[in-house]
Homo-oligomer: 421 residues x 2
């Protein structure tokens, strides 16, 4: 096997929602109530407006192609971005150029898990309609019009338990096998995962309909008190470390006792902490047997539960890959994170190949990690629309020799954008 | 090499302070002002009184020898404890029976890092005297009367920067090379480590006098918001995961730019998270070069800084040991944690030997991890008072064939205690 033979399915990327996303998906009589994209002038930053207020962020951390010294975490408008961030056809070209066969895209202005939309909600019934329209755009337009290139991912009206159940059922019927939820709901004003009345119906629907729950990092950062003068570096470094908190909360909430077939992906959570975490949990349940903790009705260890219910997700993770057998070789999946700063685009194949070779991964391990585990977990058939041969890094890159992946400044993008406008 | 040839130096154990600890160490005119040990009746729990109020805990989690179903986290009096918890001679015998040559003992009633004493302080000048008396007991009596068996560890008057400096100088002059500080001072009402006016003089004294700083887990648990119904398991599982937060805070505070020779041990922090953490930090400083983060004045990577300044400490850590080279083989040290629930006593040699064999550690690696790294880091000569041959697991256990290490109930200890009283 060679780098060119890699097949890459990324289960964490980010779409910058295009300005016209709601046009074909809001019911006609609510069309005027959909969130609106408001363009800034040459020096302004675009924003979305919903129910009379600014909501979410147009383009947080959408730094693809920028020189590193131009990066920041401020919101940015489309004019300064690499167009592949928000233009669906160019997004696919950017995937081709990076040898990525398929991608799962988290929202931006709506919040990774729909929380930005929820926060700016005045009329909950209207937001339920907006959430459905959002999902229809994602499933029918982003994924549907680019067959085999996107794993659909839905958001839910997180403020309403029955509304979430209804939306899970609706999107599952459309072939969507993943929903994004806040990783620490009690940290954002929602009931914790052990609130059975609130979450059980949602998890039950997900379990019954083979819909995996994606918990993306970032939502739990507010859980930790930071020192008075903390820096942005603090957040960037620690965000994936907090996935251990999220996993602990979920396991201790009894979630997998109640829903033994529920699948949970810790999106962008990294994998290097998982072996350590499972060592501790495995020891804990017998060493601290006095607490009476019961993580499952079956007689299984936490490590076995992990292999049954979880998917660990990484962008680059040399130490985690070195202990892949301890984590569970069938529970690890790769991510690209385009267009965010942690992404390895446009050299993802080189980066992940190098890491896998250094830890002596077999061809079988490589295929599991770069596509097979993700496809099984999210019930996604990668070769339904494209032969396996044409789905490799070499096969995809051959179709994208015209894509310029070189470093390009914000200013250059801006000039091009307004020249084309 | 065989299990019997192991040499074990544990840098994290816990002493239950004996009732008479202050008798020989408080200045005569303040003798009546020392903390007092107040015994409960047959059904009561002992406590310490200081400045008119109850302070700290007599014996938190001192579960050695108890059947697992009798464990809990409630404070317990001496009557129910294994006597090796608080009787210095019997402590040494318990170390012998477990093949442990030397031990670093953290306080109990004073708080792992002196915080319990600080919290119950009304008269700061008096507490400074108590802290010094505490340290004199630890250095002269616990360590001094059992030569070669204890690595001395001091606490500091954390509420007073010049007072801390004075105490560092005083204990260093007595041959003490370690102090215990709160791992997240801003979480317990103290200035954060980036408060130069407060901490720089302390770190300067530690650096100049070769005194390592020990940051024991537990002190940062209050930093994270927990779900409303969280269980004790949550705390037990997560405590070491938070060491990544502590290390991040300290590194980002510029501590090692200001004090490149300062040594920091993350006591009981585990090691399985460190490879993951360093992978992320190493990538962060070049990938996020835009933030301008400067962790050291020298041109070194975070991994190199780690190897220079930190000591990772573990009790049992199979996944961490598997990536010991990635963490840094010279930066890993073993702990016993007697008499707490996470301890491997009385089968520490068997446990750590088994873990080291499973990951294929060489004899050289084993010696570094079980004693050499700790002795170098804390400037401790293990064979000054005892030949290397008599310091092995076999050599020590041969002297302790009379020690009963079998499971013994709280009730049995209580009956024996009051029968002897």
């Amino acid at each position: 096997m060679h780098l060119d033979d890699l097949i890459l399915v990324s289960i964490d990327d980010h779409i910058i929602e295009p300005a016209d996303m709601f046009e074909r998906h809001m019911p006609v009589r609510f069309k005027d109530d959909a969130p609106k994209y408001v363009r800034g002038g040459p020096d302004g930053v675009d924003h979305w407006e919903y129910q009379g207020q600014q909501t979410g962020n147009v383009g947080l951390n959408a730094v693809a192609s920028w020189p590193h010294q131009e990066w920041d975490f401020d919101p940015v408008g489309q004019s300064e971005m690499r167009p592949g961030c928000y233009d669906l056809e160019l997004r696919v070209k950017d995937m081709d150029a990076n040898g990525v066969l398929a991608s799962m895209c988290f929202p931006t202005f709506a919040g990774f898990n729909g929380m930005s939309l929820a926060r700016s909600t005045v009329d909950e019934d209207l937001t339920k309609i907006v959430v459905s329209a959002y999902n229809d755009w994602h499933i029918d337009e982003l994924a549907g019009e680019h067959p085999g290139r996107f794993l659909p991912l839905a958001i839910l009206p997180v403020f309403d338990s029955p509304g979430m159940v209804a939306e899970v059922k609706r999107v599952a019927a459309k072939g969507c096998h993943a929903v994004s939820l806040p990783e620490a709901p009690y940290g954002v004003g929602l009931p914790a995962f052990d609130d059975d009345g609130y979450w059980n119906p949602v998890f039950k629907a997900c379990e019954d309909l083979d819909v995996a729950v994606c918990l993306h990092i970032g939502g739990s950062f507010g859980l930790i008190q930071r020192p008075p003068n903390f820096m942005i570096d603090n957040l960037i470094i620690l965000a994936p470390q907090l996935s251990a908190i999220v996993a602990t909360d979920l396991i201790l909430a009894g979630t997998f006792r109640k829903f033994p077939r529920l699948k949970v992906a810790l999106s962008e959570g990294g994998i290097g902490w998982i072996g350590f975490f499972l060592d501790r949990l495995d020891r804990h349940v017998w060493n601290h047997s006095w607490t009476g903790l019961k993580i499952a009705d079956e007689d299984i260890t936490p490590s076995e539960l992990w292999r049954r219910n979880f998917l660990g997700c990484f962008i680059t993770d040399p130490s985690g890959l070195a202990v892949r057998e301890r984590i569970g070789i069938d529970t690890i999946a790769w991510e690209c994170d385009y267009p965010h700063s942690d992404s390895t685009w446009p050299r993802s194949p080189e980066t992940v190949w190098d890491e896998l070779q250094r830890v002596g991964a077999s061809d079988e391990d490589i295929h599991k990690i770069t596509w097979q585990n993700a496809c099984r977990f999210f019930s996604f058939d990668p070769f339904q629309h494209r032969s396996q041969e044409r789905s490799t890094v070499a096969g995809l890159r051959a179709t994208a020799t015209d894509v310029d992946v070189s470093e390009t400044s914000r200013q250059t993008y801006k000039e091009r954008y307004f020249a084309n406008a």
